[in-house]
C-alpha cells in the first residue's frame, strides 16, 4: 500500500499498489467492509471522497468513481493515452509486466516503469472542488472533469 488512506466516519479507504484493490475497512476493528477488484492495475493514487462518491486513479490511465452507497464502480474516465494500454495488457485484462520489463536490472526497471506510465498512469490524488474533479496524469495532462 503506497497510497495514503482516506478516512471518514470511522471508515478507512485504501488502494493497493500490487493487487489493484480498493478496500474499505472499519477504522476501529479493521474488519473488511467491502473490496473492489481492479484487476491488478497498480494504484498509487490516494482516494478522494466527496458526498457519496470516492475517486481515485489507476495506472491504467483511468479515473475510477466508486459509489460508496452501492459499494460498486459507478463510472470511469479514460484518458486518450489509454490507447497505449493494449500492448501492455495481458489476455486477462491485467497489466502485462513482461512486455515492459526485460529483466530486473536497475536500468531496465526504470525504463519498464516509464513504459508502463505511457498508458497515462494516474499517481496523482484527485482533488474535488464543487462539481469539478482535478487530477494529474503521467501523460503530462492536468484534467478537470465534471
Amino acid at each position: 500500500v503506497i497510497a495514503s488512506a482516506a478516512v471518514r466516519d470511522d471508515r478507512v479507504y485504501f488502494a493497493t499498489s500490487d493487487t489493484g484493490l480498493l478496500n474499505a475497512v472499519d477504522g476501529k476493528t479493521g474488519a473488511l467492509l467491502f473490496s473492489i477488484d481492479f484487476n491488478h492495475w497498480p494504484m498509487f493514487s490516494s482516494p478522494g471522497i466527496a458526498g457519496n462518491m470516492e475517486y481515485l486513479g489507476s495506472h491504467q490511465g483511468r479515473l475510477l468513481a466508486v459509489d460508496l452507497a452501492s459499494q460498486k464502480l459507478a463510472w470511469t474516465f479514460a484518458e486518450a493515452a489509454k490507447k497505449n494500454g493494449p500492448s501492455l495488457t495481458d489476455s486477462k485484462g491485467a497489466p502485462n509486466y513482461e512486455a515492459a520489463f526485460a529483466d530486473s536490472f536497475y536500468d531496465d526497471v526504470v525504463s519498464g516503469i516509464q513504459k508502463m506510465f505511457t498508458v497515462g498512469a494516474i499517481l496523482s490524488s484527485p482533488a474535488v472542488s464543487g462539481d469539478t474533479i482535478l487530477f494529474g496524469s503521467a501523460d503530462g495532462n492536468l484534467y478537470a472533469i465534471m
Binding site: I49, G51, L123, S124, A127, G130, G136, G140, L142, A144
Partner: protein
Amino acid sequence: MRPLIAVSLLPLCPPVFAQQTGAFRSDAAHTGDYGSSGIASFHKLKWQFHTAGQILSSPVVADGTVFFGSNDHYLRALDLATGAEKWKFKTGGRIPSSPAIANGLVYFLSYDGNFYAVDEASGKVKWKYATGESDGLQRSICTEWSRPPRLCPIRLIFICRRRLSPEDWFILDRVIRTCTRWTPGAERCNGNSEPATSYIPLRRLPMAHFSSGVGIRIFTRWTPQMERRNGVSKPVKTTKPIIKPEFKLHRQLLTASFIWDAETQIFTQSMQGPGKSSGPTIIKDPG
C-alpha cells in the same frame, strides 16, 4: 514568561489564513474528504492542460485557482473555471510534491533540493530553503563519484549500474562516506512520505512541515519561542530568529526561520533517488 512572549507577539503577526488554505488531500490531516457533494455521474471533460512532464503531484485548489507541480520543473497556477494559466514558476528539478497553500503563499518542494514559498497571486518566489542535496547527487554517484578510484571505490559503478536493494543503498552510503569529497550533513533528501499533522505546544502560529532525507523540518514565518532537538523541547532565551550560517537567505528576507529538524536514517528508501515528493502540511494552531 512564555505566555507573555506569545501574547506580545500577536499584534505583530499579519492576519493568518485570510486567504483560503489548501493541502494535499483536502486538509492538514490529509483525510481525503472534500466538503463538496461530488458528482455521481460523469458529464464531460471540463478542460485539460498539457505540460511537458509527467504530473505526479496532486492538484490543490484555493481561491478559485488550481496549483500543481509537474516533472517539467514548473509549478503552475490555473484558473479553476477555464483552465487558463495564471502563472508558472520554474525550479531546477521536477516537482512531484503536492503544494500546500496558506498565508497567500504556495509551499512545495522541488527535486532541485529547495523548499519554496511562492506568492499565491503573482507566482514570485518569497523565499526558499535548501534542504540538502539535489538530483545532482544521483548523477554524481554514477559519474563524478566513480571517476577518481582513489576517492571513490570503483564498486560504486557496479552498485549504481546494477540492481539496487535497500542493502545496496546502505553499502553505497557507507562507501560514499569514506570519500574525501563527501560532505557530512549534505545527505540526499529522500522524503517521499507525507508529513504527519501535529503542532508544537505553546506555538500560536502556523507552520509548514515537510520531510526530507535528513529528517522532518519545520518552518514558521515568525520568531520561534522554543526549539526542539533530539526529541527534547527547550525554550529559546531570545525572541530573535534562530539564524544559522546556512540560513542567510532567511535572515535577509526575515520571512522564515528554522525551528528544528529531526534526524532520520538516511537511505531509508531504495531506488527512489534523491526525491523530495513530500507534500508540505500547514498547521493552524487551534489556540
